[in-house]
């Protein structure tokens, strides 16, 4: 993969939320408003970028046995730094993100990319990957947030776009609406992929499968 491909990977083809299904918890929680989605996305991108670089730099130093604690420590440090910076300079965002800002630590995207990519690739590639994934994450959040906010509250980034005389479909800002939007977006992305022939090769290994003994497939199912 060349550098550009690494970067664009995270946007649609391997979109962390809609294709890799990572980081769904903050996705569903903060997308009640587009602004919150944007803020969360940017914060997560920053952490992802920094932690990917750091972990990539340390990839030959950290022994395999302790890689998870090491990754978590690094990620947590970056998140705490981000949190303090946000609290000091953008307190409004801190208030609206609330507890989800510190929860970026356990955002699966970051740990997942650290494990899947940064620990196996050079720093520059990892940085690009982090940026791409973060951007994909942000775009998804903004998209979901916009849909839910427009339909559910009639506003977009706080500006009223649907005239106040039309009822708001408040269902969309409830968790049920969130899941629904999420599902629809996932279906959409898969539909696009099928159409453009970019079907992602997915392979689930045989280890956990109960039909292992009788199945004839070799190398896992799709």
């Amino acid at each position: 993969m060349n550098k550009v491909q690494i970067f664009t990977n995270g946007l649609v083809k391997e979109n962390p939320v809609l294709r890799l299904v990572l980081g769904t918890c903050p996705t569903l929680a903060v997308t009640t408003m587009a602004f919150n989605g944007l803020g969360m996305g940017i914060a997560a991108t920053f952490v992802l970028f920094c932690s990917n670089i750091a972990i990539s730099l340390l990839r030959n130093v950290i022994p395999d046995k302790v890689r998870l604690p090491a990754y978590i420590t690094v990620i947590a440090t970056f998140v705490s730094i981000v949190q303090m910076l946000v609290k000091a300079y953008v307190p409004a965002l801190d208030k609206s993100l609330g507890v989800f800002l510190p929860l970026i630590v356990v955002n699966c995207i970051i740990l997942g990319r650290a494990e899947m990519f940064a620990s196996k690739n050079k720093p520059l590639d990892s940085a690009l990957d982090g940026l791409g994934m973060g951007l994909g994450f942000t775009l998804t959040l903004v998209l979901m947030g916009s849909i839910r906010e427009i339909l559910g509250s009639g506003t977009w980034f706080g500006m009223t776009v649907i005239p106040a005389s039309i009822d708001r479909f408040t269902f969309m800002t409830t968790p049920a609406g969130g899941f629904f939007t999420f599902g629809v977006l996932m279906a959409l992305v898969i539909f696009i992929e099928n159409k453009t022939g970019n079907k992602k090769e997915r392979s689930i290994g045989c280890e956990g499968c109960p039909s292992k003994s009788v199945c004839g497939a070799k190398g896992g199912c799709e």
Binding site: P69, M84, K87
Partner: protein, 635 residues
């Protein structure tokens, strides 16, 4: 090789982790250094923002920490003497209701801001919501006032009584604190309300024989007697209230403690509040209880406490038959006074010239006059007539009406100030441009003397409020008789009979046939009991089911004077729906019966809409008594 693997397996991981942690900590510490001051400044600014919001003229605050007043979190004096800002709290429904109050240097409230609280969403939370109209109204109603405030001074949000009252208490605490730190007055420190168990622990007690019906009895080292009883409060509660009363040797109540664990939070536990319980102190004998007011809205719980105290008094009297309590009579004028005061207090107001002109357009000069008619809030003599504001009890409280009368006493204009009636119903009265209110007002114009509900366009669906308007108008007309025609003022209690609902059966009987000695006689057919007085008066008892789903029937007692006119009616409506059916035992309703001499007189008696079955049941029972009286007992 071996060394390698020890290094690889055990040491390297540890070292790497330690190094990573050190670096991480350093980075965090560095960032913290950088951002912490900024964050702190922001938090202070946010807090100060609240203070500056209420007192914008201040340029800074100095905090005063030396004060004793209870329930105050912060007292701040503006450095430029623009005033004071005090942050206090009151106990609300789910927790504390914090407020920030700005005073000017004399103590007049400049602004009140409600901070975030954890009250019920949609109710107490309205206070802290800047977009909420009711919350804003309440906050604004404090402005300009000074001194300790009462519930009637401010716009309590209907339906959010507990939280609103908590806010009121919080403001009062702020006022107390202001008095202490700014004016140098003595601090008002709230005494901790003890539970009965705590109170018992603090006293030296020797156990004595527990009288029947009580749960505990002791003598203290000071020679006082302490009695304990369980009393049922709110009918749906699982646990009874624990009432503990301390008597001195004469039977005066020295102290009372109540445990309200089983009662509804915020409502029934007012029965344990210092305010309510302080009424019991000094009470001597059962008769003294007549002066104790129950708390509207917490009726069952507070009545329960009263009943418990009554049991204790009875037991005390039984133990010491010679004590003063046994022969104590009601405090001087206690009955009528407590009757008047237990009806919602009708406060006086000042009518502005605009208010007067609104109902009496041609007038130019206005002069306030005094009126002794009860129910009148203000009376003004104008050059072309009179303007009187009176109020009467409506659905949720008092309904005030301003009436403009010409010199002959005919109504020329009517306006409705704000009331606390239900939005969409009685609240329509003071809604601008509301057609129904306008129709009601228009239908009153031209009337004089006395108005009946059938003469006016009552607001359909707001019957009780409309009736209150008519009652208030009649009060205004009576006031006219007093101030313009010089007639004797009509006191509310007259002709309606004293409120007998808190009396026991025997007391009621005595009240129904005053001055006579009663002996029981055989009850005529259809009645449950009958007593004859030595002066020819009678007290007859009948029963009626009242509300069809009631558990047991109501007992109704009707008193007849020697001439056969009804002296009064007493009703035991405890089986009826509280708040609804028990209006059938109310003085307002029962007062209609006084003076009736025959069945035909009953036609003028109105049942209460919404309590139809109960009040109709009383009417039926009274009819039975009248029929029985006419059939056999009339001499």
């Amino acid at each position: 090789m071996k060394n390698n693997s020890t290094w690889e397996n055990f040491l390297k991981p540890v070292v790497v982790l330690v190094v990573i942690c050190i670096v991480a900590s350093a980075a965090l510490a560095g960032t913290n250094q950088l951002t912490a001051p900024i964050i702190k400044a922001q938090e202070e600014a946010a807090a100060n923002a609240a203070y500056l919001e209420v007192l914008p003229e201040a340029d800074g605050f100095e905090e005063i920490t030396d004060f004793q007043s209870s329930n105050v979190t912060k007292a701040l004096k503006a450095t430029n003497d623009a005033g004071w800002v005090i942050q206090s709290y009151g106990k609300g429904f789910g927790g504390d209701v914090p407020v920030v109050v700005a005073f000017d240097s004399e103590g007049t409230i400049l602004k009140v801001k409600f901070m975030e609280n954890s009250e019920t969403a949609g109710f107490g939370q309205k206070l802290a919501d800047p977009a909420d109209a009711d919350g804003q109204k309440l906050a604004e109603s404090f402005v300009g006032k000074s001194g300790t405030l009462e519930a009637g001074d401010v716009d309590i949000i209907s339906g959010v009584t507990v939280s609103s009252k908590a806010a009121l208490a919080a403001v009062n605490s702020a006022v107390n604190c202001f008095n202490e730190v700014a004016l140098g007055q003595a601090a008002v420190v709230e005494e901790e309300q003890l539970t009965p168990d705590q109170a018992l622990e603090s006293m030296e007690l020797t156990e004595i024989e527990i009288p029947e019906g009580l749960t505990g009895a002791w003598e203290t080292a000071n020679g006082t007697t302490v009695l304990r009883v369980d009393s049922k409060g709110y009918e749906y509660e699982t646990a009874p209230m624990d009432v503990l009363v301390e008597f001195d040797a004469d039977g005066n109540i020295l102290n009372i403690w109540v445990g309200t664990d089983g009662q509804t939070a915020g409502i029934g536990d007012q029965a344990g509040s210092a305010e309510f319980l302080s009424q019991f102190k000094g009470v001597l004998g059962e008769a003294g209880l007549d002066g104790v007011d129950t708390i509207a809205g917490a009726t069952q719980s507070t009545t329960g406490v009263k009943k418990g105290v009554r049991k204790c008094i009875k037991a005390f009297v039984a133990m010491y038959p010679d004590c003063a309590a046994a022969t104590a009579v009601a405090p001087e004028g206690g009955d009528a006074e407590s009757e008047a005061s237990s009806e919602a207090a009708v406060e006086t107001v000042t009518l502005s010239d605009e208010d007067c002109k609104a109902v009496l357009p041609d007038a130019t000069t206005f002069e306030a006059v005094e009126s002794a008619t009860s129910g009148v809030q203000a009376a003004v003599k104008a050059d072309t007539g009179w303007v009187i504001q009176a109020s009467a009890k409506g659905f949720a409280g008092q309904v005030p009406v301003i009436v403009g009368l010409n010199a002959d006493g005919a109504i020329v204009g009517v306006s409705f100030p704000e009331n606390n009636e239900t939005a969409g119903y009685g609240a329509q009265l003071y809604e601008e441009g509301n057609e129904k209110a306008a129709a009601l007002a228009a239908s009153l114009v031209g009337k004089s003397g006395e108005v009946a509900i059938g003469d006016v366009d009552a607001i359909s669906g707001a019957t009780i409020s409309s009736k209150a308007v008519v009652e208030a108008v009649n009060t205004a007309l009576s006031c006219y008789n007093e101030v313009a025609l010089g007639q004797a003022p009509a006191a509310e209690g007259e002709g309606e009979g004293t409120d007998m609902s808190a009396m026991s059966a025997e007391e009621a009987r005595a009240a129904l046939a005053p001055g006579a000695t009663l002996t029981q006689i055989t009850a005529p057919e259809g009645l449950t009991d009958a007593w004859q007085g030595d002066d020819g008066s009678y007290v007859l008892y009948a029963e009626d089911m009242g509300w069809e789903y009631a558990g047991k029937p109501m007992t109704i007692a009707v008193g007849f004077d020697p001439n056969g006119a009804i002296t009064g009616v007493w009703v035991d409506a405890s089986s009826q729906t509280p708040g609804i059916g028990d209006q059938a035992a109310g003085a307002d309703y029962l007062g209609q019966y006084t003076g009736i001499t025959d069945e035909a007189g009953l036609d003028g008696v109105d049942t209460i809409a919404g309590a139809t079955q109960s009040t109709r049941g009383v009417k039926k029972a009274v009819r039975k008594c009248i029929q029985a009286y006419a059939a056999g007992l009339a001499s």
